[in-house]
Symmetry: C2
Subunit: 190 residues, 2 copies
């Protein structure tokens, strides 16, 4: 951020009175510009013994496989965002079963929520955002071609939990270590 979105003057970084963090502040109109994490909402759609994945037609990770998910918009709920993204990316209408993974991704300032969902009929198709959409059994999952670590996490939890039929909420915390590797920790309260 270089300029104030309210008045167009240059902003500076400072700690506002009563605050304890650096913010972009406009010295001209005194607006404080807060920056906060964004929510990624999506679904893990299940049809019989298979899950639905999308092959990305957009950057980043063009050509890799992902669950249908994307940025939550203003004016919608987290569930509505997850359903909308599934429709937009996979042309699939699913029924949400429950919130399944909640991952704080610290190095990109995102919180990802994946809902476990049922796909009542095997109806789906490629879209502007997906080169290809298809169902995968556990044996067919392209583990080496997944777009994001969070997608692998959700799928591993799903196939493990499917054995018991109990799908508890998984609270995760992803961070990039000093060596650049991404560490994943389960919430301490599980």
């Amino acid at each position: 951020m270089k300029y104030c979105s309210q008045c167009g003057q240059a902003v500076t970084q400072k700690i506002p009175a009563g605050d304890n963090r650096h913010r972009y502040v406009c010295d001209h109109c005194h607006t404080i510009h807060y920056e906060n994490p964004r929510i990624i909402a999506g679904c893990l759609p299940v049809y019989q013994n298979q899950v639905l994945l999308c092959r990305r037609a957009i950057e980043p990770r063009y050509g890799l496989w992902t669950l249908p998910a994307g940025f939550m918009e203003n004016g919608e709920s987290t569930e509505q965002a997850a359903l909308r993204e599934t429709l937009e990316e996979a042309n699939a209408e699913v029924v949400i079963r429950k919130l399944y993974t909640l991952t704080s991704i610290l190095h990109v300032d995102q919180v990802q929520m994946i809902y476990l969902a049922d796909l009542p009929e095997p109806i789906f198709s490629a879209s502007e955002e997906s080169l290809e959409v298809r169902l995968f059994s556990e044996e067919e999952i392209p583990w080496q071609e997944l777009a994001f670590p969070t997608i692998g996490n959700a799928l591993r939890f799903y196939f493990a939990d499917r054995k018991t039929g109990d799908f508890p909420l998984r609270h995760l915390h992803l961070d990039r270590g000093a060596d650049g590797t991404v560490n994943c920790e389960l919430g301490t309260h599980q």
Copy 2:
């Protein structure tokens, strides 16, 4: 938003190519300025048969009672945000038990997450953000002086669930109707 935060020129509202929503777009440097919901994270701290509430020292709702909660910051997890807010607002160090309420508040573009937490010792105090901090038994809750509808929801769920000892995640959807009243709906998947 009136000006581009990247180059300082005036922005206009339009639907970018490949998008289906109006965004603020800079015709000069072509930056698209997305606006997304923000996360409010907080705790419902429990000590023996009492819960901890804070009387707000800041607007909005100055002087009314709330659970310790506030905007999640970049670079932290949802749990870290909830713990930080509890420390900042109530000078209380709690231990998170589980995610308890997840509320999409559509008319203000917020998603509120309240964690059920244990206060190991009755140690807390007023702060820059709280005029007063105290423990309340169920009979003492100032129901008519709560700052936000979401706080009443969380407390009502807590006192009801306490009878069984089971505290399932409550998925809520708050919206303002055409008549200005705030409607609250439970997620359909519960």
